[in-house]
């Protein structure tokens, strides 16, 4: 662009990915330094896969100063839960799985109908796990570019004993001085990759050559078209009468609960090809693929107030 740009290039010390990674490592170490019983949420999804690499860079050759936790809806893709278990074993770290179905059995989660998406009910099971283990901080892979409620959330986000987020009463967060203090029963949610975008995540996966569950890459799958989106046909999401099942090349951009995570048509079978698609994509990640966020403009804000991640 200008000559100043060219002369400045020689002075740049950290690339944007280096900077983002370093910030995330710093945040994880602050959690380890300030909190007495933290946990890292690991779903087997791409953002939490990045989080594990960041944790390795933050703490190796030592062990992670926290276990891994997954809140399983019972409706996850097998490829993803298998990957989750394999990766935790490979790292030699402790994985705790708590299940929404157990909360349903206890009666703390009550579905309105059997096929209601279970994503929002993860909040209940998460709060139960926090209480069971006495976690004082949960490290998660949420990003501010995902959704506008997240755009205003702190990196260290305070939750009261009901797990509620109060957007009007957030702690000021200045410089890199984080305040993780909480009283017993309260909890911090910590988001080390707050400042990353979807493209940053993919570029990081490519640079670090991170393994991913196979459903992130293009594969052929039976689907139906419903409500302007593509829905995978599975045991828990059968085709409705009158719908035509098509076999299409698709990939998933997020891998949550089967009932509310839809794939996009794609023939991208490598990280490089996904990056090329992401760089020119015209639909934000949640808009295309999270059916539960579309109902209301403010649905994420509402769920976070109720304790959602």
């Amino acid at each position: 662009m200008s000559t100043a740009t060219l002369s400045q290039l020689t002075q740049v010390k950290l690339s944007h990915l280096d900077w983002l990674e370093s910030e995330a490592i710093h945040i994880m170490r602050e959690v380890a330094g300030q909190c007495s019983n933290p946990v890292l949420l690991f779903s087997g999804g791409k953002d939490s896969i990045c989080m594990l690499r960041i944790a390795e860079k933050a703490f190796r050759p030592g062990r992670f100063p926290f276990p891994l936790l997954h809140i399983d809806t019972g409706h996850n893709y097998r490829e993803v839960t298998d990957f989750r278990d394999w990766r935790a074993r490979e790292l030699g770290e402790r994985l705790i799985v708590r299940s929404v179905e157990d909360s349903m059995a206890r009666g703390t989660v009550v579905l309105k109908s059997p096929d209601e998406p279970r994503n929002k009910h993860q909040s209940v099971t998460l709060l139960e796990a926090i209480e069971e283990f006495g976690f004082d901080a949960c490290i998660g892979g949420a990003r501010r570019d995902e959704e506008k409620a997240r755009a205003k959330e702190r990196i260290f986000s305070f939750r009261d004993e009901f797990g509620q987020w109060d957007p009007k009463n957030q702690r000021p967060e200045l410089w890199d001085l984080y305040n993780a203090r909480s009283f017993k029963g309260e909890n911090m949610r910590v988001f080390p990759i707050s400042n990353w975008t979807e493209l940053d995540v993919w570029q990081y996966i490519e640079r670090e050559q991170l393994a991913l569950p196979s459903i992130y890459f293009a594969h052929c799958r039976p689907l139906v078209r419903r409500g302007g989106g593509l829905l995978p046909v599975t045991e828990v999401t059968p085709a409705r009468p009158g719908e035509t099942i098509e076999n299409l090349m698709v990939r998933f951009r997020t891998v949550g609960d089967i009932t509310c995570t839809a794939p996009v048509e794609s023939d991208a079978d490598s990280v490089a090809r996904i990056i090329a698609e992401t760089a020119i994509t015209t639909i934000t990640e949640r808009g295309a693929t999270r059916l539960d966020d579309q109902t209301s403009d403010a649905s994420m804000e509402q769920r976070k107030k109720e304790g959602y991640f």
Binding site: L9, V12, P172, W175, N179, S270
Partner: protein, 429 residues
């Protein structure tokens, strides 16, 4: 696999990351400016665009209102105000940007201070019809106070003053009049119309009398804070790694000191001093995930191994011998009060500086700053959004530099232990 699979950006040198702050009120066209940056840099995605098209239509507008892109929380929409700092992202392929979008009203000083604390550059918006206002002075003062090195004065809404060069020149001259008094050095002026898209990403055709750079050109070439040379090396220890892995005897004596370089550079072999013990040793290795690095640079998170066995824990600091920071139990600082409960001179607070905490008690308020007139006045106590020169006495020493020399080791926060809230932000003078 064809050559198409490589992103064009992969071949372009990575010019790192720049964090900037936009200050101004909604009336100045701040949201439109940010919307324009996102829109013209093609960062807006289709479903987001559809959503704001629908909303624009619902509100009876015949054009898409780009300011809706920065529309905030439900709670804010209900009240028609912006409550809090929002962060936005865009990339040009050569550089990644983080925008801190701070509300402009006086009662939100604490939000602007928060947003400014991590910014390398501030865009101060002026409505060309209104010229330099009290809020312009306030924003400029705060940007300077928080040590933002680059100021861009964006004279917006030039379309509403017929793109008049005389109006622009007058505002520029008015601004320079008080900027010199503040001590602002790097100030640049751009006439623009965020609504029309003139001089933001594209030059447009209506401001051809202006031959300076566009806003994006300034952003692309601005130096990030740590680009300056000759910084002193500062490494607050966050965490100590002692694996003591019985299966791996090589790790038995491993002691890694983990942290992020706040400023300066470190090379293997450098002689360092550990504070507070004052013990000296050499750097044996600098590591990240088993790999050894030759050096560590500012803002890099690394693990440092030392030649000698020294007892070091979180809160200690590793510095290069010969450039020690001040070891202080009494500090003078500019303090911004952030809490609805006033600063109580009788109470003890917790002061957090780098990775170190100390009990602190107010030793005195030297003066309070009227941030509209920048006049000093006497004060007995501080209310939310007040800024004052104060001194604190500390129970434990901290290893401090003046904020103007080093943000990382010149900044602190004040925590109220009864609520655990962050109630103050300080800059050591």
């Amino acid at each position: 696999m064809s050559a198409m699979e490589r992103l064009p950006t992969a071949a372009v040198p990575d010019n790192g990351l720049l964090r900037f702050l936009t200050c101004g009120s909604v009336d100045d066209g701040k949201s439109t400016l940010i919307g324009r940056l996102l829109f013209d840099s093609k960062t807006i995605l289709a479903d987001t665009l559809h959503a704001i098209q629908r909303t624009s239509a619902k509100r009876g507008l015949d054009v898409v209102d780009l300011s809706l892109l920065t529309d905030g929380l439900q709670a804010e929409r209900e009240q028609g105000i912006t409550i809090d700092v929002a962060y936005r992202y865009f990339t040009t392929g050569t550089r990644k940007y983080i925008i801190a979008d701070a509300p402009g009203h006086e009662q939100y000083t604490r939000n602007m201070v928060t947003a400014a604390s991590t910014a390398d550059l501030a865009i101060i918006l002026i409505d060309a019809r209104k010229g330099v206002l009290t809020q312009t002075r306030r924003h400029s003062y705060l940007a300077h106070l928080l040590g933002i090195p680059h100021i861009v004065v964006a004279v917006n809404k030039m379309d509403l003053v017929d793109y008049s060069p005389a109006t622009f020149a007058q505002i520029r001259s008015d601004y320079q009049g008080f900027a010199a008094g503040l001590g602002l050095t790097d100030v640049r002026f751009i006439p623009m119309s965020a609504l029309q898209g003139d001089m933001i990403v594209e030059r447009g055709e209506r401001l051809d009398w202006y031959d300076g750079p566009t806003l994006l050109e300034i952003l692309e070439s601005a130096l990030a804070i740590h680009s300056a040379h000759a910084e002193k090396f500062r490494f607050p220890v966050q965490y100590v790694c002692r694996p003591q892995d019985s299966a791996n005897p090589e790790l038995h004596d491993y002691r890694g000191f983990m942290g992020r370089v706040e400023s300066g550079e470190l090379v293997v072999g450098d002689v360092v001093t550990v504070l507070p013990s004052g013990r000296e040793t050499r750097v044996k290795d600098i590591q990240v995930l088993g790999e050894s690095l030759d050096r560590a640079v500012a803002e890099q998170s690394v693990t440092i191994l030392l030649e000698d066995e020294i007892d070091i824990s979180r809160g200690d600091m590793i510095v290069k011998s010969g450039e020690l920071p001040k070891v202080a139990k009494q500090i003078d600082a500019m303090l911004c009060w952030l809490s609805e409960s006033p600063l109580d001179p009788r109470r003890k607070y917790l002061l957090r500086h780098t990775t170190r905490d100390s009990k602190a008690i107010l030793a005195g308020i030297v003066f309070r700053v009227d941030i509209n007139s920048m006049q000093h006045e006497t004060a007995e106590r501080l209310e939310m959004n007040d800024i004052a020169r104060v001194s604190f006495r500390l129970a434990q020493p901290i290893f401090a530099d003046p904020y103007a020399e080093s943000r990382g080791t010149g900044a602190f926060i004040v925590i109220d232990e009864s609520s655990n809230n962050t109630v103050g932000a300080g800059m050591i003078v």
